[in-house]
């Protein structure tokens, strides 16, 4: 019973936080930021207190309300959702510290709106993570989409509003035009929408329809940024960096791949999908996205856009891992969600730190910046190593499982894609790292700067530390992932 109420509190806390932030408002910025921190810390405590329970096999459920016969807003924590919620709530704390430094350091306007929308977005993430059925997931998926629009368009100038419209347009159009029909189709053939171990579609749908339904689901989940529905992600880079960091490296995009993984595991069922030849295309779509996005990333000159394309490629790692349908590869999907989150948030934090201290955004400007900002570039280096998958960083762990999984599946195309993209990752990240540390500054910067504000440095050091720590301490995540695929 306690755990049930705990689930509802996980939803209520961010919302209450949003309201309280609104009341504190522009006139009491210190109280407002204190509320943000307090809310994020208490949410993380709440989520993490469930972690051992779920690890021990508990699957707490909470029923909110029934909308239609057989369909209700209902929550249930299963291993993957636990992992996602734990990840998002942990990084929200770090990101809040960072946001304070960034928003104040850059004198951003509308800070209250920013923090409110952020809290509401986290509410959406919690709902997505805990959804017991597809409809609940869909509702919170849309909450997440809508609540992040003001964050993306934060600057309010014509360019960011136009980009934010692309963002909103693609995410809403795919979800309402493809995802929702897929949900209704699923309901029409199965009569249920609940995430069930082993899937619900087996025996209810056959032949090419399986591939089609999978396509509706996968492309309907625009947040997963599988090509060709990836364009919103580079567009969203107009947002302030904390938004890019938490939402477009962790919460929003991970909600996408999380949804796809859940649908593959709990709606289709691994065995059913593996036995259906028409579902096999997903591997190749993911491979295509990985390689193409990596090539595009190489051609970028703007740091944040490069990170965006790197994210697109990395997200498709998760999709590829899920699509390989092997126990080990599915574990890799879960692990990579975590590993990539730690690494990419560090990289974004570093990008924002550079911007705050020096207003630099382009790669060509970064020569020799490591000497001025050793902490920032140190963290950046760790993040980059993790993206490539070099030990001792988080990226190595997930890549290891992904490669083992593709061996298991005997899918050599997937393996080749992983190898090629690793090389490409190295090819676009290492030059940045090299020139930042070892090249001389080409021109004296307009601002004679040192490190970014303390809050920013603290935040990016924490995430860099997490990236390294995950290499050593990953057993709990592994156990949860193993529970999800049912090997134990």
């Amino acid at each position: 019973m306690i755990m049930e109420t705990q689930l509802l509190w996980m939803l209520a806390l961010p919302l209450l936080g949003a309201v309280a932030i609104g009341f504190a408002g522009q006139s009491h910025p210190n109280i407002r930021e204190a509320i943000t921190l307090l809310t994020s810390v208490s949410l993380a405590l709440l989520v993490w207190s469930l972690f051992p329970e779920v690890l021990g096999g508990a699957r707490p459920e909470a029923h909110l309300v029934s909308i239609l016969p057989g369909i209700s807003l209902q929550f249930k924590i299963e291993p993957l959702g636990m992992l996602f919620a734990a990840l998002a709530s942990l990084l929200w704390i770090v990101n809040s510290i960072y946001s304070i430094g960034y928003m104040r350091g850059n004198n951003e306007h509308h800070q209250t709106r920013f923090y409110i929308c952020f809290a509401v977005a986290i509410f959406g993430v919690m709902g997505v993570a805990m959804a017991e059925n597809l409809l609940t997931l869909f509702v919170f998926y849309e909450v997440l989409t809508l609540s992040t629009y003001p964050l993306v368009s934060h600057k309010g100038d014509a360019k960011s509003v136009a980009s934010a419209r692309v963002y909103l347009g693609i995410l809403l159009a795919t979800s309402m035009g493809l995802f929702l029909p897929a949900i209704i189709w699923t309901y029409a053939v199965t009569g249920t929408l609940a995430f069930t171990a082993g899937g619900i579609l087996e025996g209810n749908i056959a032949g090419p329809a399986i591939g089609l339904l999978l396509a509706l689901f996968v492309f309907g989940t625009g947040k997963a940024a599988l090509m060709p529905v990836h364009r919103w992600l580079p567009a969203a880079m107009v947002a302030p960096t904390p938004v890019s960091a938490l939402l477009h490296a962790v919460a929003v995009v991970k909600a996408g791949v999380f949804t796809i993984t859940k649908i593959v595991v709990y709606i289709f069922g691994i065995d059913f999908l593996a036995a259906s030849p028409s579902g096999g295309w997903l591997v190749y779509a993911a491979v295509f996205t990985i390689v193409t996005a990596s090539f595009i990333a190489m051609r970028q000159t703007n740091l944040k856009r490069l990170l965006a394309y790197s994210t697109i490629a990395q997200l498709s790692y998760v999709i590829l891992a899920a699509a390989l349908l092997m126990p080990l590869s599915l574990m890799a999907a879960a692990l990579h969600m975590v590993a990539h989150a730690f690494g990419k948030i560090t990289l974004f934090f570093a990008a924002g730190s550079i911007y705050t201290a020096s207003k630099k955004t382009e790669l060509a400007q970064l020569h020799g910046i490591g000497r001025r900002m050793p902490w920032t570039m140190g963290a950046f280096t760790i993040g980059a190593l993790s993206m490539i998958g070099i030990p001792p960083t988080a990226g190595f762990i997930s890549k290891w499982y992904l490669l083992t999984g593709s061996f298991q599946a005997e899918n050599y195309i997937a393996m080749a894609a992983i190898v090629v993209s690793t090389l490409l990752n190295a090819a676009y990240f290492l030059p940045i790292v090299y020139s930042a540390w070892f090249k001389a500054e080409t021109e004296a910067p307009t601002i004679d700067h040192r490190e970014a504000p303390l809050a920013i440095v603290i935040a990016l050091s924490i995430t860099a530390l997490l990236t390294v720590m995950f290499f050593w301490i990953n057993q709990p995540a592994l156990d949860l992932a193993a529970q999800m695929v049912g090997v134990k």
Binding site: V65, I67, L73, L135, P150, S153, L168, G177, L180, A188
Partner: protein, 500 residues
């Protein structure tokens, strides 16, 4: 004892109070009288709905003369639900009417407005309780004439040509209806709908009945603003006093739809062979075009009220679409959407009335930054907008879900229908988003003549309370849709029974 006379009182009460309102002076007294009357009618409707929910059809013989000789009032599930919609919408909007109307009409003439309101109300209720075709016509005229007055009552002179257009169109519609009824009377000798149904079975020459069906369908489609007969609607909604728009948008067009459903399913479907195919073959394409075209127009509309008016035409398309499936699921979707759309659109227009108090012009350009001054109004607007789009957890979702489920029963044809529904949902998101973007993210025009700084504040508390009650009702009926769903399903079952 008096409860047995509810069906008659439902209509008679507002009809009798209307002339009395004329005697009251000032802005407050007529409003109070109309408000109290409307709420009493609402209470009667609730009481009758609870009786009908138990499975009992209320039949009332006026003057104790039994049908078919006497006039019969008849309240089944369908009419009970619509009675709830009409009286509920009237009571809710009347609550907000005083504040809103004072800004648009000098107090000396308020009593005329409220008298017309009560007449319109009584006319609509009369259509819903009447069991025979001729009384439906009479009440339709009462409701229409009173609506013309309501629409033209405001200070905007552009309402006059609009309402004249409506008058011409409405009269053509009513005449077509009357021609149809006349033809049927000629062939059967009765005006009672139930009686028509049984007597038609014995009529051998069905051609006049076919013609009658044509006249009645087109005439009512005109009144209900079915595409392409909708031309009168946008301007009327745009230039009418805001609160009158809210009332009429919530219920008036649905009444014509109700009459058509009645006529078509009770009288025609069972007796005319192949009529169901004609019915759906005629209505489904029109409904689909209405949905797409009207949503498309709304996408580019710059005046908020006209944008919502076009959205209404599109939403009416959903209601027609559900009916055109001629299936139980389709009718359920159609009827429940009457309820849900009334909720959503009523709320939106009450929010517009709140905005109208503070903004002289309701173009999106002028509404920029409105949310900063009126956060509560705009929040209610967004909530109701979500219901209109069909976001899960709001009333609109229930009807969308049922509509799509009904379409799924239709096979390949259904796929096209579903595609249209989804595309139009996206269009609804887009056109409502334009409002949201202007109000929330637009920078207010500093030098606008209509918007001086001191005028910029929230709407009066009473109006805010009303709009929020209405907005929360959208959420409530999205989470617990038992009552409207039960009534709709029973109504659909009852209508389908006539098909045999």
């Amino acid at each position: 004892m008096i409860a047995s006379h509810w069906p008659a009182l439902q209509v008679a009460l507002p009809l009798l109070v209307a002339p009395m309102v004329m005697l009251l002076r000032g802005a407050t007294l007529p409003w109070l009288a109309a408000l109290v009357t409307s709420f009493m009618a609402f209470a009667i409707a609730i009481s009758m709905a609870s009786t009908v929910l138990e499975g009992e059809v209320i039949v009332y013989a006026v003057g104790s003369w039994p049908a078919p000789v006497g006039i019969e009032l008849r309240i089944d599930e369908l009419s009970a639900l619509l009675l709830l919609i009409v009286t509920g919408a009237s009571s809710t909007t009347l609550l907000a009417a005083r504040n809103s109307l004072t800004a648009e009409l000098e107090p000396e003439r308020h009593m005329l407005f409220y008298a017309a309101w009560l007449l319109a109300l009584s006319g609509m209720l009369g259509i819903l309780v009447a069991g025979d075709a001729f009384n439906i016509f009479v009440f339709m005229e009462i409701a229409s004439l009173a609506s013309y007055v309501l629409i033209s009552a405001g200070s905007d002179r552009r309402a006059l040509p609009s309402v004249f257009k409506y008058l011409i169109m409405g009269t053509i519609g009513a005449t077509f209806y009357l021609i149809g009824v006349g033809l049927i009377y000629m062939m059967t000798g009765t005006l009672n709908l139930a009686d028509m149904e049984s007597r038609l079975a014995e009529v051998e020459e069905l051609k006049p009945i076919m013609v009658a069906a044509g006249f009645i369908t087109v005439g009512l489609a005109l009144k209900a603003a079915l595409f392409p007969l909708h031309a009168w609607l946008p301007n009327c909604y745009t230039y009418a006093p805001h609160i009158a728009t809210a009332f009429l948008a919530a219920c008036s067009t649905k009444i014509a739809l109700y009459v058509l459903l009645r006529f078509d399913f009770v009288v025609f479907q069972g007796n005319l062979i192949g009529h169901d195919v004609q019915f759906s073959g005629f209505l489904m394409p029109l409904a689909l075009i209405a949905i797409l075209v009207a949503s498309g127009v709304a996408l580019f509309e710059t005046n908020l009220k006209r944008l919502l008016a076009y959205s209404s035409i599109a939403q009416l398309g959903y209601i027609w679409l559900g009916a055109s499936f001629v299936s139980k699921a389709g009718l359920t979707a159609s009827v429940v959407h009457m309820f849900n759309h009334a909720l959503a659109k009523g709320t939106l227009f009450i929010a517009v009335a709140c905005l109208g108090l503070r903004f002289a012009s309701l173009t999106l350009q002028d509404l920029k930054g409105a949310a900063r001054f009126m956060p509560w109004t705009m929040a209610a607007f967004v909530l109701a907008g979500m219901s209109l789009v069909g976001v899960p957890g709001t009333a609109g979702f229930i009807s969308k879900w049922y509509l799509i489920s009904a379409a799924l029963e239709q096979g390949y044809q259904g796929v096209v229908v579903i595609a249209v529904i989804l595309i139009s949902s996206l269009m609804a998101v887009a056109y409502l988003w334009r409002v949201v973007e202007a109000a929330y993210f637009g920078e207010a025009l500093t030098s606008s003549s209509s918007t001086t700084a001191e005028k910029m504040s929230e709407a009066p508390p009473l109006m805010l309370a009303v709009v929020w009650v209405a907005a929360l009702a959208n959420v409530y009926f999205g989470l617990d849709s038992t009552v409207p769903l039960a009534l709709s399903e029973q109504a659909a079952t009852a209508l389908m029974e006539h098909l045999r």
